[in-house]
Structure formats: structure tokens, C-alpha cells
């Protein structure tokens, strides 16, 4: 068995105080092992992003514990081995593509020549060649999100937290992003937590899907995604196995959508 990188125990989050308390996440427990690609899937408002943000230390948790590599997570404290990709576009609009991607290395004080070589490599991998000196406002949403992704990956995080990073993209661009992410991940095999409400996306990318119930978020089911790797984001969807697993998880997810609607 490989090492546990992230350990979540009875994780609870309530927003508000006193009578106005709203439970968002209710006693969630799971382990993430080295190199595992896990999708947190659930209807909107189920607290999946909240769980991710608690693991990242962006917001404090109300109960339970989170350990990353054995160290308890503290809100407001960034762990160097953790990378985070935001749902919203968070590229620095005043930096060019190359300087966005090189940001973390620049902050670290890496010499310019070494930095530029690494940035050029990342730009090639993200299929952004020719856009090195472009400012983000002149790029498409998909390109900007690739810049965000590469800006995080260049720091070589061992644990990657992604909050619906492709949520705002159209279907076609999304598939392209899946393909790029799969290629990159095959090489480094980071431990990934990927938040999404898109089942197809979760099946395409992950080894395991943690399905959350409607608010308050509890773990409803923990599915293993059996598809072999390396995967082809487009061809995968044509296989019979894909259809079968999709139907199984879809049924369970559908029950939660029904609950959300009934609210």
C-alpha cells in the first residue's frame, strides 16, 4: 500500500452561528493515497468546494481533523507541497503569459536563465507557444485556465487541489483541457483532489469518485473508476465500460439532484 498523503477525519463545517447555523459539511472522512486522482462529485451546494478549501487551509474547519503528510492543516497557512487551481480565472492580468507561469519561480528567486528554460518547457506542454508575451485579456478562457494550471504545475506540487477548474469552459475546450491534464498527470502522478459536478469529467480523469450527498455534504458512496491508463479523453467515452460505470454513478447522483430540487 502506498503512503497516505491526505487524511480527512469527521470533517465538519457549519456556517453562521447560534440559531442561524447552517451545516455545510457533515462528518466526512476519507484518505488519499500517493498518486491517487480523486474526484469530489456532488450537486451544487453540497459542500465539495468547502471540503477542498478546508484541505487547502483557505477556510477553517469547524470539527474533525485534516492532516497533510501527517501535519494538521491550519487555516491561513500554506503548505509548500500543495498546489491549488481556482475555479475562477486567477491569472495576473498585468503579467504576460510567460511571466504568469514563471511567477512562483520568480518569487522563489530562481535565476532568470533557469527560470526561462522551465517556463518555455511548460508553455510548450500547455500548447501556448507563440503566446509567451501576450497579456491574459487577449486570450480565450481555455488558454487562461491553461496558464493558471501551468503556473501551479511549474512549482511541482505533490498534492494538487483543483476546484472545478474547467467549470466555466465550453464542452469542446473542456475535453481539450482534460487531454492536456491527463498527459501532464501521467508524467508526474501527483495526488489530486478534483472538485466537479460534471460526472463525465470525473470519470474521464479520476481513479476514484467520492460522491457527496446534497446539503449538508456527507459521503454517499465511494466509487472506483476502473478504466485503464493512459486514457484518451475522447475515445474513453465511446467504450462500453464507460457507459456502464456512468449509468451506475448517474443513478446515485440523480437521487441527490432530486433532493436538491425538492428543497
Amino acid at each position: 500500500m502506498t503512503a497516505v498523503r491526505v487524511e480527512v477525519r469527521d470533517l465538519t463545517k457549519t456556517f453562521g452561528s447560534g440559531d442561524g447555523q447552517v451545516p455545510a459539511v457533515d462528518r466526512v472522512s476519507f484518505d488519499l493515497r500517493q498518486g491517487e486522482f480523486v474526484a469530489l462529485l456532488g450537486p451544487s451546494g453540497c459542500g465539495k468546494s468547502t471540503i477542498l478549501n478546508m484541505i487547502a487551509g483557505l477556510i477553517p474547519h469547524s470539527g474533525g481533523s485534516i492532516r497533510v503528510d501527517g501535519t494538521p492543516v491550519q487555516a491561513g497557512k500554506v503548505m509548500p507541497q500543495v498546489g491549488y487551481v481556482f475555479q475562477r480565472d486567477t491569472v495576473f492580468a498585468w503579467r504576460t503569459v510567460a511571466r504568469n507561469i514563471g511567477y512562483g519561480l520568480e518569487i522563489k528567486g530562481m535565476p532568470k536563465a533557469e527560470r526561462e528554460a522551465k517556463v518555455a518547457h511548460m508553455i510548450a506542454q500547455a500548447r501556448l507557444k507563440g503566446f509567451e508575451d501576450a497579456f491574459p485579456l487577449t486570450l480565450s478562457g481555455g488558454m487562461r485556465q491553461r496558464v493558471s494550471l501551468m503556473r501551479t504545475l511549474i512549482m511541482e506540487p505533490q498534492i494538487l487541489l483543483m476546484d472545478e477548474p474547467f467549470g466555466a469552459l465550453d464542452t469542446h475546450t473542456k475535453l481539450e483541457m482534460h487531454q492536456i491534464l491527463l498527459e501532464l498527470w501521467e508524467r508526474e502522478r501527483q495526488t489530486v483532489v478534483f472538485v466537479t459536478h460534471d460526472l463525465a469529467e470525473a470519470l474521464t480523469l479520476s481513479d476514484r469518485i467520492i460522491l457527496l450527498s446534497a446539503r449538508p455534504g456527507r459521503i454517499k458512496e465511494d466509487f472506483t473508476v476502473p478504466f485503464p491508463r493512459p486514457r484518451d479523453a475522447i475515445r474513453l467515452r465511446e467504450t462500453k465500460e464507460y457507459g456502464e460505470v456512468f449509468a451506475k454513478v448517474w443513478h446515485s447522483l440523480g437521487e441527490e439532484f432530486a433532493v436538491t430540487k425538492a428543497d
Binding site: A56, L58, V78, P80, V82, G83, Y84, F86, R88, T90, F92, A93, W94, R95, Y103, G104, I107, K108, F135, P136, L137, T138, S148, R151, T152, M155
Partner: protein
Amino acid sequence: MIIHFGRWGLLALILATWQWGWNLKPTLGWLVPTVLDPYFVSKPSIIYNRFLELSCLSLPKGGWAFTDWSGFTACVGSPKGSLWTHTLATLRNTFWGFLVGVTSGVSVGLLLGRSETLAKIFEPYIVAFNSLPRVALVPLIIIMFGLGDMSKVITALTLVFFVVFFNTFEGTRSVDRDLVNAARFLGASNWQVTWTVYVPSALAWVFASLSPAISFALIGVIVGEFIGSERGLGKVIIEAEAQLQIADMMVALVVLMTIGVSLVLVFRSVERRLLRWQRHHAERT
């Protein structure tokens, strides 16, 4: 094309009315307003000639500055060519008032924008001081700092500071939290976040305040010169008022307008360069 035509046409119309409008008074009567009386507003031709004299472009002993450099320098040094001395004094004080006002406004704006506690502590003082018309402070400033340049710089600076401060403060507070978090995840320290996220994000706000800040710096200096000074365009205007030398006053006003416009144009080009990542700037270049 039609815009250019309209602009220059309007200028010609204004100058022509100013120059010859009063001549029509006997025929048109009340249709020609009394403000066109050259006794109040002089005439473009007289102002132009007065400008040439005061600027030493036409020399007192005859001839043109363009062909007689030594004559020009002698004229500028004499009391006759004092327009240069006055203009330079006003420009210098405006520059220092602006520079110190912007620097302090940006620094304090960033500091209070980054620290909730400091912002809360200083808030009532800033509101109180800002609601006081700064021009009312000029007599006090002159008592404290004398009739010289220092009091003008201080007046300009108190006006400039608040415009720039409020903009920087707002700009810093409205920085996207996710951008800050993104920078932290990429390893940035507090100081690095300030420098690489807050400052560039707030820059657009700062620049938005610089054009008004230039105007405010000029206002501060001129008002200071009105109330008490040794030199400066404000002093030229006040003296011209006392002696009813309208042409002299108009020359000073035209010089002031030229200074204001030039400074704003300079800042626009700096802004375009520094904010070229913004869409509307990108499209223009």
C-alpha cells in the same frame, strides 16, 4: 474629420468674438454682452503681444529672441521678463507638491488598505481632515511655513494626498481575494503579495487619481500664491487684478492652462505604458 473641423471652428469663433465682438456693441446693442468689454477681458491680439513681451520672445530693445540669444537671457534675468521666473516657481512647487503628495498618498493608502486595524484607527481622523476645505488651511500654512516656496508645496501636497490616498485605499481593498490566495499558494510572502499583487492591482485606481491630482496640485500652489507669496503665476494674477492689468492676468491664465494640459498629456502616456495589460489600452496601441 468633422470633429477636427468643429474643434478648430469653435476656437476660431471664440477668438473672433473675443477680438471683435465688442466692436458690434453700437449696432447690435444688448445682443453683445457686457463681459466682452475689453476692459474686463482684454483682446486676443493684446494678450498675444503682452505674452511676447513678458516671455521675452520679443525683446524690449526690439528684435526677436530667436535671433538674439544673449538679448533673450538678459531679458529673462531682468524684472521685465519675470514671467519665466514666475512660471518656473509655480511649476517647481506644483511638481514637489504633486510628487510628495502622490508618494505619501500611495504609501499610506497601501498601508491602510492592507491593515484593517490601522484603517479603523485612522478612519475618523481622515474623514475629519478631509471634510475640512484644505484651502481654508492656507493662511495657517503660510504662518507656519512662511511666504516662500515651502508653504505652496505643503498646500498642494495636502490637496493631492487625499485624492491619491482614497483611490489607492479603495484600489487596495478591492483586490481580488482569489488572486491573493493564488499568489500565496505559489509561495509569495506577505511583502511579496503586496508588491506583486496589491500594487499592480491598485495601479489602475492610482492612475485614475493622477489627472485630478495634477489639477489639485496646481490649485494648491496658485491659492497659496494668491494669499501670500514672493513669486509665481498666482502672484502675477493677484497683482494684475490690483492694477487692472487684464492682459497680464490673461497671459498668466493661458500659461496655467498650457501647463495643466501638458502635464495631463504626459501622465496619460505614462499610464498607457504601465497599464498596457488592460483591454482598452491594448486596443489603442
